[in-house]
Assembly symmetry: C2
Homo-oligomer: 295 residues x 2
């Protein structure tokens, strides 16, 4: 439980100090065990998200298949932008921007309408099994930040309950959360379509459960799931801002490591500014991490 992939920097010390205070009944920073909820964004916080989040490729592939099966769709959004590889659209998508639009969300909603959880999961699993990262040539599923896994272990050892809260799909992450993060399916929070139980089976509808889990939606989903705020929160992008603001310990993963990972501030400008102003814990991948990816 020693954060062994973290360098001996002020960042590591800040984490250790916070956990020590939170665990000490005589310290004003004490947090009762029931309230020790930690939540982390996924893309860019737990694994690589450049050049585009893994799930975005999954969704684009699915919608492109639908156009193949029904070419008339190519005249409508978002299929039109997908078929034409519209740069502004893809840019908005890659940054998990709400600007990617309602038509995209609706298309995702209807893409698996009527399918079973098993059918959806089989597709997600097949996609992930085949997905290699364009730069590293390694399976994307292996491109998990080892230091963050060690942080999970440390939090658990200090009686924190660790959740993932991603704007990405709850059901997409659940297919790999247990093996990859050691996080049970029930501790995965994300944007979600509603399933209805009909004739003894669950069937996916096209209705979202609550808002997209981005920005304020992350806080909403965490409260829905846990009845609390996450007092320890980690993220890396503007869509994580509210989740971190609502926390007591705010950890920002800063992508400043062009050599081992990426150096970019795209779609993170607001978060980085808030973190610097607020004295949040800014994790430099370059300086604070001995290694980036688990072996």
């Amino acid at each position: 439980m020693s954060l062994s992939s973290w360098n001996e920097t002020a960042t590591k010390q800040a984490i250790l100090d916070f956990l020590a205070r939170a665990g000490d009944e005589n310290n004003p920073g004490y947090i009762p065990p029931t309230e020790r909820i930690a939540a982390f964004d996924n893309d860019g916080t737990l694994w690589v998200e450049q050049p585009m989040p893994a799930q975005t490729g999954f969704l684009l592939g699915k919608l492109a298949e639908q156009v193949k099966a029904n070419p008339a769709l190519a005249a409508e959004e978002p299929y039109k932008s997908i078929v034409n590889r519209d740069p502004a659209f893809l840019q908005a998508l890659s940054q998990q921007s709400p600007d990617a639009g309602v038509t995209f969300l609706n298309a995702i909603g209807s893409a698996w309408e009527g399918t079973s959880p098993e059918a959806y999961e089989a597709e997600a699993q097949a996609f992930l099994a085949a997905l290699k990262h364009p730069r590293y040539g390694r399976p994307w599923i292996e491109l998990i930040y080892q230091p963050m896994l060690e942080l999970f272990d440390l939090l658990r050892a200090n009686d924190w309950r660790v959740f993932v809260c991603s704007g990405g799909g709850r059901d997409f992450m659940r297919v790999f959360s247990e093996q990859t993060w050691g996080i049970l399916r029930e501790d995965v929070i994300g944007s979600a379509l509603q399933y209805v139980y009909q004739g003894g089976r669950l069937v996916r509808s096209n209705a979202m459960l609550g808002n997209v889990a981005l920005g304020p939606g992350k806080v909403e989903h965490i409260y829905d799931r846990t009845g609390r705020m996450a007092l320890f929160a980690g993220g890396n992008a503007d869509v994580d801002l509210e989740m971190l603001q609502a926390a007591r310990f705010r950890l920002v993963v800063v992508h400043d490591d062009a050599e081992r990972e990426y150096a970019t501030t795209a779609a993170s400008e607001k978060l980085l500014a808030a973190g610097q102003q607020g004295g949040w814990v800014m994790v430099s991948m370059k300086d604070d991490w001995k290694i980036v990816y688990k072996d």
Copy 2:
């Protein structure tokens, strides 16, 4: 972890046998730990629900207050039925029947619209602190079935994760789940209104998250929360039928103890029939439990 408040009957043995099989890798009934999810209804399964579920009184009181503040409401449903104490309406409500109606659900939805989680919880807590059971004269919050708490302990000792899934309000149960059941807020599943995060605070809306957690809605909410079916499920009423059908171990609490609790089959006829036909584990409060309420 010995189910010490349970008599040495076939019921107790069936529970122990199932857990032994589920825990034995060499047994065809083995269930991997990640899949060991247990879910229990609340009213009538974990505590007394006669003559009317505790939360129903809370809701009726709230709506009656609203009529006092705005007498014009008395002309509309469900306020009209509440003010007139309409027997059919109260009967439907007391049995958690969907017939209690859409107007009632909508009224509940709007009753706390715009309030904070803290404000809602303070009201629920004040109500529960004052609520005595009309027959026993004891605080309702104490009228928990001791044998079920022991079953929770036994399940946990066998690496099952215990959830409550009630048609009642998720937020209502969360105010007492940790102290009363030893169940964390995040493991409480129930009917829920959506909160939105605005200006740095959570505000209750009037929109439900998914369906009411009754009947098929229980399976839907359990899947939403856990990504799985509950393989061990306990209930006592027709609205628990689907949750039990979807499980592998089905436990039915049978209210056959007029002396210590109640003897009634109202709104449980379908469940009792399914349980008897299917060879489910029928818990006779009279014969299987040494004591009913915790001390």
